[in-house]
Amino acid sequence: MGNNLQKAAEIIQEKYNGEINSFRDQITLLLSKDSIVEVCQILRDDFSFGVLVDETVVDYWRRKEPRFQIVYQLHSRQHDERIFLRTPVSDDDPFTSSVVSIYPNANWYEREIWDLFGIRFEGHPDLRRILLPKGYQGHPLRKDVPIKVEETRFTFNNDELARGKPLAKE
C-alpha cells in the first residue's frame, strides 16, 4: 500500500470521522454525506486523486439501513493508487451533495443515478434524465420495482393475455 494512500485515509478518518474498511490493500472510507464534497476536495488537491473513475449507487433494500450507498471510485495517476468512498443515503427524501464542482465528469454519473435510482444531487447544474425517455415515471433500478412488466404467456393463458394487449393501427 502506498504512502500517499495510507496518509490520505488516516487524515480523512481523523478529520471527518470516517470508517476505514481495508480489503486486500483496497481502502474504502465510509463517510457521512455532509462531508463528501470536502473530502473529495482534499483528496483531489492534497493527495492528487485527480480522476473520478466511477460514481454509482448500491440499493440495500431490506438488507441495510440506510437503504442506499453512493460509491465514489477515485484514482491517482501520479501514485497509481485508488481509493473508494461510500456515503449512506436514507430512503425518505433521498438526496446528497453533488461533486460536479470538484469532478466535472460526475455530471453524467449523477444524472444516471437520479434517472435510475431517484437520488437527488444538491448543487447539480442540470439534473434531468439521461437514459430513460422523457416523461418516464419512476426509477426502475430500485430493488422494489417489479422486474417483469408483463405476465409471461404460455399455451394455457395465451389467448386470455393476448386479448388485453393493445395493437397498433396502420
Binding site: 430513460l132 412488466v149 409471461t152 394487449k165 397498433a168
Partner: protein, 160 residues
C-alpha cells in the same frame, strides 16, 4: 382457356391486374437499412453472398425510409427507440410492410423489463413474425417468402 388459346400466338399473355401488380411488388421489395440489435447481424448475413437475399428481389437495403417498402424490425425495441421506429414507418410511402424478426421484436423475448417494448406490434402493424433468437438467415428468407405469398394474395380493394 385464355384468349391466347383461341386467337393463336399473338405474343401476349392475359392475367389480372392484381396478379401483375402484386408480382411486380414482390419482385423488387427493398428493405429499410435498419438494425436494432443482434438480429441485425443475421440480417446482414442473409444479405451477403452466402445466403444472398437479392435472389428474392432485395437487391439492396435503402438507407432512406422514403425509398423502402419493407421494415425489418431486427432486434429488441426499447421504449426510447419505439417513437423513432414509428416515425420511420410513417415516413415510408405506401405500399409498405413490416416484418418482425426474432423473439425480442415479436414479444419481448427474454427482456421482460422496463426498458423493452413487449412486442413491436404495440407500435407497428406487423405482417409476418419470424421466430428465433436470433433466427438463422434461412428463417429470415423464409419469412420474407411468406410475406411475398401474403402480398400476392392482396386484392385490389386492400391496396394502399
Amino acid at each position: 382457356m385464355g384468349l391466347e388459346e383461341k386467337a393463336g400466338n399473338l405474343g401476349f399473355v392475359t392475367t389480372t391486374l392484381e396478379n401483375v401488380v402484386n408480382w411486380s411488388r414482390t419482385r423488387a421489395m427493398w428493405p429499410l437499412l435498419s438494425g436494432l440489435a443482434c438480429c441485425a447481424i443475421e440480417m446482414m448475413a442473409a444479405q451477403s453472398a452466402h445466403y444472398d437475399m437479392s435472389r428474392f428481389g432485395m437487391e439492396l437495403m435503402r438507407a432512406s425510409p422514403r425509398q423502402s417498402d419493407l421494415l425489418i424490425v431486427a432486434g429488441r425495441v426499447t421504449n426510447k427507440m419505439a417513437p423513432v421506429l414509428r416515425r420511420l414507418y410513417d415516413q415510408m410511402p405506401a405500399p409498405k410492410w413490416v416484418l418482425s424478426m426474432g423473439d425480442c421484436a415479436s414479444n419481448g423475448g427474454v427482456f421482460n423489463n422496463y426498458a423493452i417494448i413487449q412486442g413491436v406490434d404495440e407500435v407497428l402493424p406487423v405482417d409476418v413474425y419470424v421466430a428465433g433468437c436470433p433466427p438463422r438467415p434461412e428463417a429470415l428468407i423464409h419469412g420474407i417468402l411468406v410475406l411475398y405469398d401474403k402480398v400476392q394474395q392482396e386484392g385490389i380493394t386492400e391496396w394502399a
